[in-house]
């Protein structure tokens, strides 16, 4: 391998970014939908509870069969890993909107759209960001494992390749890289959440 570690990491990060963004959009959208609709929640919840326990790597063969390419399959694995925590946390956050807030909205006769932006979203935001923080950690775990199996590019493949060519020093350097990047990803979502939640509160 001639590419430097930053380039390997970059390749992995790019896949995580796409899959994770998709998961956040679908997770928050779906979570709001099932959180506000009791019937929809009752219908979907058993499926989520079963699907979320399927390990990320177990999705890889079926993704490869469906997409027949490594790139979309890796992104799908990231998506399917990250979507459940966001989805479930968002649904709970929406369900836990304090009754007082709802009463105030009813007294003021807030329009639906205004209720959504001024009450529902701000009070669900802490839950949403908790889910997104769990999800980013899981995505990073999943991409490294997925790349070990798919090969080609990325930090996961680099680690496996180093092991196969007995380059143990390279392997350890790569592991430290993975750990530090995972830490930075986690903190990035944490501070993003903190900034968004606080700006909503004022």
């Amino acid at each position: 391998m001639n590419k430097g570690l930053a380039l390997q990491i970059w390749e992995s990060l790019r896949r995580v970014a796409i899959g994770y963004t998709l998961a956040a959009v679908v997770g928050i959208g779906g979570g709001i939908a099932i959180g506000t609709n009791k019937l929809l929640f009752r219908a979907c919840d058993p499926f989520f509870q079963i699907l979320r326990t399927i390990p990320p790597l177990a999705w890889l063969p079926i993704a490869l069969a469906a997409f027949r390419q490594v790139e979309p399959s890796s992104i799908f694995v990231i998506f399917v890993t990250a979507v459940w925590p966001v989805l479930i946390n968002t649904a709970v956050g929406v369900q836990e909107v304090p009754q007082d807030y709802r009463n105030v909205a009813r007294v003021l006769q807030l329009p639906r759209l205004q209720y959504f932006w001024t009450i529902l979203l701000p009070s669900a935001a802490p839950y949403i960001f908790t889910g997104m923080r769990i999800a980013v950690g899981l995505s990073w775990l999943a991409i490294v494992a997925a790349e070990m199996l798919t090969g080609g590019v990325g930090i996961g493949f680099f680690i496996w390749d180093s092991y196969n060519s007995s380059r143990m020093s390279d392997l350890i350097v790569a592991l430290i890289y993975v750990g530090v990047v995972g830490f930075v990803l986690d903190k990035a979502i944490y501070y993003l959440g903190k900034a968004v939640v606080q700006s909503d509160g004022t």
Binding site: R42, A43, C44, F47, A65, A66, R68
Partner: protein
Amino acid sequence: MTASSTTGVAKPPGAAKDWLQKLGPQVLPPLLLLIFLLFVWEVLCAGDKPRLPPPTAIVKDSWRLISDPFSIAAV
């Protein structure tokens, strides 16, 4: 119990009716969604050579695996 005996034979007895009324709202929505999803899956993978098998093909192809989890003979 007296109420159920007076309303006729067609209606379920009290206990079963209660059980159905309590469990119905919990079981019915996921069940309907499952049927809907299986139908969509069947339609999506209906082509000549689909990338993923539809539910009916899964049941047909893997029936040995589904029907007999404790089989030992590797035939």
